[in-house]
Each structure stands twice: as C-alpha cells, then as structure tokens.
C-alpha cells in the first residue's frame, strides 16, 4: 500500500502549487488577489504594497537594503513565497543582476481595489424575500450535522443513516481513496491515513476533502482554477446571509450542491427564488487552519485508569473513539469506554502501523478534545496514559 501522508497544509499552499497558467488565470479575479495578499507573511505584504506603483524591475540588492540584518531569514521566506505564488517574477538583467517585477494582472487588480475599494462578490438578498433564515446557531448545528453525516458516510459506517444527496458514489470513492483500503474480501477498512484523518480537527479534515475535491475537478470537466476562485470568493460572503442561486453559473450551481452535502452551504427554496447560505465552514476556508477560535468545545475526559468518558451524542464521535477504545456504555449524553491494548491492536491490524505518528495523533486528539473540566488541568490527558499508550503497543506479551 502506498504511504499517503496527510499534510494539512492550507488553501494558499494549494494555490501556490498550481501550474503557472492556472495561477495567472486566478489573478484575473480581484477577490483572489485580495485573499492572496491577506494570506502572505507580513514582510511579503509590505514588499507588495511598496512595489505596487513601481513599474520597473526592482533589483534584489535594493530589496535587501529594505531589511535590517537580523531580518534576513524572514526576508528570504517572504521573497520565496512571492516567487512561489508568481506574484514576483524573477528576472536577470543585462548586468547579470537579479531583479523582481510584480505580476501584472495581480498589480492591476490590487491597484483597482485600492482606488475603488472592494465590492462584495455578491449582494445578499433582501430580507423580505428570504423570510425564514436560520439563526447563526442553527446554521452552525446544521453545518456540524452535515459534516458528521458526510464523514460517517465516508467511512462506510453502519451508523450513517441519511445518505448524502448530491455527492455521487464515484465522488465518494475519490474521497475514500487513501483513507479506506479497498480489499474486496473484508470490505473496506480504514487505512493509516484514514485513521489519522478521523482524528484531525474539523478544519484540517475539511481542507483535506476540499483539496481532493479540487484536484479531482478536471476529471469532472471543471477547471480547477475556476473552482478555486469560486471557493475563495465564497469566503468573502457573509455567514448566515442568503445569496441568490441565479447569480451562479452552471458549474457553480453543481458545486454549491456538493458543498451543501459537506455542510459548507445551506440551500433554501423560496416561493420563486432559491438561495444559498454560507456556513462558518465556508467562510473560514481560507483562514489559517490552526485558528483556535474555530475550535469546538471539547468533550472527552480521560482518566488515569484508561477509562474514557465522552460527553457527546454524536455517532461520529462514537465511531472515532472506537478506533482506539472499547465502547462499553452508551448513555443519552455520554459515551463510556476504555483504551485497551486489544482495541489499539485492532486498529493497528487494519494495516495501520503502530508508529509514533499514529500514537501522537491519538494523544493529540484526546488533548484537543479535552472536556472543559479537564482541559484546564495540566496535562489534560493524564501523563501515565500518554506515556503508556506506546507501552501498550510495544510490550509484547
């Protein structure tokens, strides 16, 4: 089995890795330019703004003089990033000196933006048309529920009751690639990557799925640059506002339906119009993944005796805990289990190697999802548990 490591990079990393033509095409969209600018390291932002109205190439040596000696490493990171994003084009002039020019399209769009100010990509619909919009809390719950449902479906859990409506089985297969092993006899089982995937936080999971969704887009006849620009555009919409579906082109309409399955968007139908409402998942897409503010409240208590109590009604949580624990009791708002050697073995028999990385994922999952009661205590997961999970695995009795 090929080793698929999930690296939860962010949206901008993906943008940066696009081929040159696609990238240049992206910069036709002013929102992309703004989003790209926002995502840059501070020093890179400063260079872009400083060079915005310089129409001649700037030499590398001049650029070097803009920073103090101790900023050299940051300088290098910033310049590398700008070149990677093709915001800078590196040229060698006649005197054999390295120079940089700003991407023309990018420059024009930003200048335009600075002079005329930004306009939202779409105007929200008037409140008198969209009468029964969900509250922000309802919307969050909806998003969480959709996402959970999608994940249960993704891992082929028997607990998945409602099938996702829009995402086709073939698309599901695409998502499952790498996460589930497709051995015919035993039925699909979670791979090591799948195991780690389930233990990641929602933002990281979401990003993984979106990345797959984008890279698979060409097979569906959708231009990945178009898709990226639409997704970035979405992040400029306001959470909870309604936007008319009529403003979308065909590709975008299909995309919106897929995104609804993932919980990024809620679709509603009025008497005449239909509209889409972006959820927090959509508007947070381009935000840094490690943003703690988007983290949900924890629910897991791990005790020194390897008992585990999860304050949750979620079937997905139950499935996740089952990866490394024996579930013993299920109560209306509590799941009780214990982390046992047997369950860990079981997890690791599914082709998942008991390496330090997988263990770290379990431990950091437990830490990140610690119930508020124990989250304040240090450490939130008892040391003997974090210490002994490896022992649990390696002791060969």
């Amino acid at each position: 089995m090929p080793q698929v490591r999930i690296i939860a990079k962010n949206f901008m990393d993906m943008v940066a890795s696009l081929p040159a033509i696609k990238l240049d095409k992206l910069y036709h969209n002013p929102f992309i330019c703004e989003a790209i600018l926002r995502s840059m390291p501070p020093l890179a932002k400063k260079y872009v703004l400083q060079m915005l109205y310089i129409d001649v190439p700037v030499t590398a040596s001049l650029l070097n003089e803009w920073v103090l000696p101790d900023g050299a490493s940051k300088h290098r990171v910033a310049v590398d990033r700008l070149i990677q994003l093709r915001v800078f084009t590196e040229l060698v002039d006649r005197k054999k000196e390295t120079t940089y020019v700003l991407n023309q399209m990018f420059k024009m769009n930003l200048r335009e933006h600075i002079i005329n100010g930004g306009e939202p990509p779409r105007k929200p619909m008037a409140a008198n048309i969209t009468v029964r919009l969900p509250s922000l809390e309802d919307l969050d719950n909806y998003a969480a529920q959709q996402w959970e449902c999608f994940l249960l479906h993704l891992i082929n859990s028997a607990e998945a009751e409602v099938t996702t409506k829009s995402i086709s089985p073939s698309m599901m297969k695409v998502f499952q690639r790498g996460l589930l092993s497709q051995r015919d006899k035993e039925g699909p089982r979670l791979t090591e990557s799948g195991f780690q995937f389930l233990l990641m936080d929602t933002n990281a999971q979401l990003w993984y799925i979106i990345r797959e969704y984008i890279s698979n887009s060409e097979d569906r006849g959708v231009d990945s640059a178009d898709l990226i620009s639409f997704l970035l555009e979405l992040s400029f919409h306001v959470t909870g506002e309604a936007y008319n579906v009529d403003t979308l082109d065909d590709v975008q309409r299909t995309t919106v339906k897929d995104l609804a399955d993932l919980g990024l968007i809620k679709l509603q139908q009025g008497r005449k119009d239909s509209w889409f409402i972006p959820t927090k998942l959509a508007t947070n897409l381009s935000i840094s993944l490690s943003d703690a503010s988007s983290r949900k409240q924890g629910y897991v208590v791990v005790e020194t005796n390897f008992r585990l109590y999860a304050y949750s009604t979620s079937k997905l949580h139950c499935e996740i805990l089952r990866l490394f624990a024996r579930i013993e009791y299920q109560l209306p708002n509590l799941i009780v289990g214990s982390i046992t050697k047997e369950n860990l073995y079981q997890a690791f028999q599914n082709g998942i190697t008991a390496d330090q990385a997988s263990i770290k994922y379990i431990v950091s999952f437990l830490q990140q999802n610690a119930h508020p009661r124990v989250a304040e205590r240090v450490p939130s997961v008892p040391e003997n548990v974090t210490d002994q999970v490896p022992h649990h695995l390696y002791s060969n009795d």
Partner: protein, 679 residues
C-alpha cells in the same frame, strides 16, 4: 477484578498449624497458581459484544445540575465535579460498590451485597430509589428500580441477638452453627440477610468500661462520618469501615470502643501493631492502664476489674497448638467473655500506602476461627482495602458485616488528610546471565532471588538513592520482603537495615538516627516492619514511590495487578524504562560483568531457604515448633505474597507541600528522572 488473592489461600504469615497450610505447601510449583490467576485478569471479560446501549433513557431537562447516570445493569457513573458530588458520594458509597474512583468520574455497581449494606445502615428501599432518582440525570431505568426492590425486600427480617453468651436466632434455624446461619441468610442463598445490631445502652448484663475520648481526640469529618454510619440509630452495627492507610483508622476504632463502653477485644496482625494499638488506646482515650492489656508471645498481661480492653493478634487467638499454661488461661478468658466490641484491624488485605505489596494477609479461615472462638455483640473491621471479588465480599459479609463506610482516597488527599503520593514503576531488564538462570527449571525456587538481585535493578536502586540523597537531600526508605536481597543491598550500599530479628533497641536507634541525623538518610526495611515507618508523622509529607520491577519475570504480573488497583483508586502511575541513565553507569555497582557474575554465583550458591521471603517471628508461643515447617514453606509461599519488587520511597524532610502537589508545567522544572522521558 483480582486485586487480591484467592480466598482461603494461606499466607506466609499464617504459620499456625492449620491443615490448609500444609496443603498449600504441596503446591511446590509456583507456576501452578499463575495459570489460574491470569484468567481473572480481564476485569470485565467482555468484548464489544456486551456493549450496553442506554441511549434511550430519557434525559431530564435539568440534567446538567444532576451528578449521575444510572444504567439498567446496575452501573452508576458519578461526576466528581458536580456541586452535589459530596452528597452523591456519601449516598453511593452506602448503596453501591465502587468500581473505580479516579479524578473526574467515578463508577459504582449496584449489587445485592451493596444493597444489603445500605439497608444495614438504615436506608429504606423507597429512600434509596427516590434519592437515586433525584441525583440521576435520566429517569431511572425500570430494571434498576425492580432490582432494588427485589434485593432489599427481605433485609432485616432475621436478627441475630447475643444474650448471656448465647446466640439466639430464629427458632427454625437454631440447630445450625451461627456462622452457617448467617451465610445461609445472605442474598445468594436464602436471601434473608441479617442485621447485626447491639443495643449497648440497654445492655445491663455486661459491665461497663469506664473510658472516654480525650478532648484533643477530634475525629476528622470522614472519621466522624464512619462513626455515624456505625452508630446511626443509637445502637452499634457490625460491619467494615474502609479508610486508606494513614487516614487514622485507630481513632475510629478507639472512638467506637469509647461509645460502646464495654469490654473490647482488639485484634491486630502482629506484635508491633499490638503495641501500637495499645498505645493508641492510651493516646486517644482516658482508659486506665490497668484496664488495657496486651496478649502476645512477649507480653501476657491481664486487665484488672470486670471489664477491659485486650489487644492481641489473630494468631494468638486462632492458634491451635499447645499453649503455655499462662496463655491457656488468658485465652480461656477471651473465649468465655461476652465482648461488647470485637475490633478487627486490617480486616482484609492491607495495601500499605497504596502500594505495591500485600502484607498482613489475614486469611478468611483465620477470621472464621477467631470469630467462632470469641463471642461479641458488635464487630468492627477496619481496613484499607476491600477486595471486590464477590466471593470475598460474601466472606466478609457473613463474618463481620456489611461495609459501613468507605472513604475516597482522592478526596482525602485533596483535603490534606493523607499524603499525596506519586507512583512510578521502574522497569529493569534482566541481565542476560541472570535471565538464563531464571529460566532454568532447577532454579525454580530461586526465581525471586534472581529477579530481585538482577544487577540492573540494583543499579537502578543505587542510582535513585544517590540521586535523592545527594541532589535533593531527601530521606529514603527501601523496602524488600526478600531477606537475602535486603541484606545484600544494605551491605553493598553500606546502609542500615531493620528486619524481623533486629532488636527493639537497635531498631529504635536506627530510626531515631534516620529521623534526626544528617548522616543517615537511607534505611532498608523488611516489609514486615512496615509499622516502624507508619508510626512517624505520616500525614505530613508528599511521598514518591518507586517500585523496581525486573521485566519479563513474574514480577511483571504482580505489577499489572498493582497498577490496576492504583489506577482504579485514582492514582496516576508512571513507567520509567531507562534507569540508570546511560551516562551514569560506571560509578554504580555491578558495572563490570565479572561483578555481575560473582553476584550471580552468590545467589545460586545460597541455600533455597535463604533466598525466600522473610519470616516474621512474632506471634505464637511455639515458634520453635513451627520453624522447621515454616522454613520449608517459604519458597513456594512467595507466590502468595503479592509483589516481590524492591520498593523505594523518598519523602521531603522540609515543610509540606513541596513535591507532587501539582505537576510543574515547565519541563525545566520537571523531576529530573521524568524529564529525561520528555526529551
């Protein structure tokens, strides 16, 4: 759950001439036990198949304010961070058996026996159900309500009354032995569990004993609570009170005796604790010297007057062999007297300071014998641990009575009543040469000596002593129950040691030096001498426990059991695998292979009888008679003594609150031993 040992298994300490001992001696092959023992390792024994789904239970709207969940199968989960925790804990400990009690969530099981205990302390069926319902986040499952009804319906219908030195039970059952009657009345038989109560205030037949608690004897809240469970309705109930070591069981015992104010027979596990109990009686109460006496092989005192307190050992009472004339007279008195209170110390396995080793095992047959010999109105068992195998609980229930109260370790630690203890287990791989010998069949009797003398273990021990002595200025006590090892370690490291044969004067001298002198920082103790340590100001420090375990040997098995007990009580447990650290190797002993091999030679050439457990010659009259047989038992008895590890402890001599109260977050401040593991 297997924290303890199989019932009826005699201990090394019970060298009375009982037949069971001899039978056990026939079990020469230690391994015969392990096969059985491993089976009860799996605590719940159920895989995912038995997973219980109670999601359909109806949550009450204000469930967040209520502290517990109750399941149809009798399991109860309690949030310790609930504002109602204290009340809920007191209630649950009265009606259910604790399964585990770590920091945030406790688990309890409702069993027929636990409900029997509940009824015994005066709780009524409807009260149990309604309080449980009030505390529960969900509606109570119907199964649980039915279960409570079914289990409590018959309690208290049979009463056992002791009058004029004769037991009166229901007529129909009169022909039975009293003990059989009681057993037959338990839930698993007739289901007419009895209540044993003593209306001591109206007992005009037995003379009163003049004794009061001294004003300075102020029971702590949990001690007060234990007593209130015992004397709840103005009469004295028989039963067991479970308090952790160091929590002050003796004050509870003395207080109980002071309330009943009748003759009291106090049973301890050995001569040292007899002395201590006598001391405690005088410390806490105003009992007159002539009213309290000790009865051991050394001191055969008798109290004057018609009521008094006798402190003796189980062995002294249960001893079946020939006694001296003097002893015979005293025992005759003990037999004939109608005791107001039978106080039984360490009524079960004694895990001292929550660690590591079962000491003072008083086997069930000994209880039975003692209880059948003596006649008492009220029996109070005091213990640190209850073994929760149903069979055991049954034993205790009919022998003494139900559990009256059980304190929670962690709450007592948080309240500052007992020491906060950090436990670490140091895994020491066997050296190649030692392991090769360990595996040989002909060395089966030397197994223990081989894993205790494992050079890697010795080096880890030496390292820890050096570290704590030199770098932290701590005081250190090292325990071992293997006398051979104790001597070897102490001699090699040039440290004083105390064991069974150490004279009283010498012992006192060593301990005094250990407490006060800057030059004596480490002392080696045999486990039988545990009381020596306990006599100190045990509540004042936070302690560290290390237990050194040779990996891949039988010790690992004991270690697993020990860990289970500790973690179920809420203690965290660390495993340290790399001691001594690689860079500290050469200055420690047994660095060179020749040294290790000469040590191996020493172990192998020592006689089998030398390398077994230490025998404590403390209790009976006829030590000489017993000795020959006892010696032979030693080798095979090691299987029953619980952990075999060397045990090592250090505690701060300075003011309290230093170590361990809360673990430092900053890795730089971490205890150096542990820091290494986080690099």
């Amino acid at each position: 759950m297997g924290h303890g040992e199989h019932s009826g298994r005699p201990s090394k300490r019970s060298k009375s001439s009982s037949k069971e001992d001899q039978r056990a001696a026939a079990f020469e092959d230690e391994d015969a036990y392990y096969v059985e023992d491993f089976n009860d390792d799996d605590r719940d024994g159920d895989g995912d198949g038995k997973k219980r789904d109670f999601t359909k239970l109806e949550l009450k709207p204000d469930h967040a304010n209520r502290p517990l969940w109750a399941c149809a199968d009798g399991r109860i989960f309690l949030e310790t961070f609930s504002p109602l925790y204290k009340q809920a804990y007191d209630f649950l400990i009265a009606i259910a058996e604790p399964v585990c009690r770590p920091e945030s969530m406790h688990e309890y099981n409702l069993t027929p026996h636990s409900l029997y205990a509940a009824v015994s302390v005066g709780l009524e069926t409807e009260t149990i159900i309604s309080v449980l319902n009030k505390l529960s986040k969900t509606k109570l499952p119907k199964e649980m309500i039915d279960f409570i009804h079914a289990s409590t319906a018959n309690y208290g219908k049979v009463k056992l009354v002791l009058k004029k030195n004769r037991y009166l039970v229901l007529k129909r059952l009169l022909s039975d032995e009293v003990e059989n009657v009681k057993q037959r009345c338990l839930p698993n038989a007739l289901n007419y569990p009895m209540l044993e109560e003593y209306d001591f205030r109206n007992d005009t037949i037995n003379p009163d004993l003049e004794m009061e608690l001294k004003p300075q004897a102020q029971p702590r809240p949990y001690q007060e609570k234990s007593l209130s469970k015992m004397f709840g309705n103005g009469r004295a109930r028989s039963g067991i009170i479970v308090l952790p070591c160091g929590a002050g069981k003796s004050l509870v015992g003395v207080s109980a005796a002071c309330r009943i104010k009748k003759s009291c027979l106090c049973l301890a596990t050995n001569a040292v604790s007899v002395d201590q109990w006598a001391f405690q009686f005088k410390l806490w109460s105003n009992i007159r010297d002539e009213h309290i006496c000790r009865f051991t092989s050394d001191s055969k005192e008798r109290f004057r007057g018609n009521a008094g307190v006798v402190v003796t050992t189980y062995n002294m009472v249960a001893f079946g062999g020939k006694r001296s004339e003097e002893s015979e007279k005293i025992i005759e008195e003990i037999r004939n007297r109608e005791w107001g209170l039978l106080l039984m110390d360490e009524a079960k396995f004694h895990l001292c300071f929550l660690h590591l080793n079962y000491v003072h095992v008083v086997p069930a047959h000994m209880f039975r014998k003692v209880i059948s010999i003596t006649k008492s109105h009220c029996k109070l068992g005091l213990t640190a641990t209850l073994v929760r195998e149903d069979e055991r609980i049954t034993d205790l229930n009919f022998l003494i009575g139900p559990k009256l109260y059980e304190a929670n370790w962690l709450d007592l630690v948080k309240g500052g009543f007992i020491a906060n203890v950090q436990c670490a287990e140091v895994w020491c791989p066997m050296t190649k040469e030692f392991f090769a010998e360990y595996l040989k069949k002909e060395n089966s009797k030397k197994k223990q000596a081989l894993y205790v003398m494992n050079p890697n273990k010795f080096r880890a021990c030496e390292f820890l002593i050096r570290f704590h002595e030199q770098q932290r200025g701590d005081k250190i006590i090292v325990f071992a129950d293997n006398l051979f090892a104790l001597t070897e370690y102490a001699m090699k490291l040039r440290k004083p040691m105390i064991y069974g044969a150490t004279s009283h004067i010498e012992r006192t001298k060593i301990l005094e030096a250990f407490k006060t002198s800057k030059d004596v920082n480490t002392v080696f103790l045999s486990k039988g001498r545990l009381q020596d340590r306990m006599a100190g100001g045990k509540e004042e420090y936070n302690a560290f426990f290390y237990s050194l375990v040779s990996t891949d040997t039988q010790e690992m098995y004991y270690s697993t059991k020990r860990q289970q007990f500790l973690i179920d009580q809420g203690y965290s447990f660390k495993v340290i695998t790399s001691l001594p650290p690689p860079d500290a190797g050469s200055e420690l002993s047994y660095h060179r292979l020749e040294d290790q091999l000469s040590l191996l030679g020493k172990v192998l050439s020592a006689g089998d009888e030398l390398v077994g457990l230490e025998k404590l010659d403390d209790d009976t009259d006829d030590i000489a008679l017993q000795k020959a047989r006892a010696r032979r038992l030693v080798g095979s008895m090691s299987a029953m003594s619980g952990a075999k590890g060397m045990l090592y402890q250090e505690f701060r001599t300075g003011q309290k609150g230093g170590i361990g109260k809360s673990k430092p977050k900053d890795p730089a401040k971490r205890h150096q031993l542990f820091k290494k593991r986080f690099v």
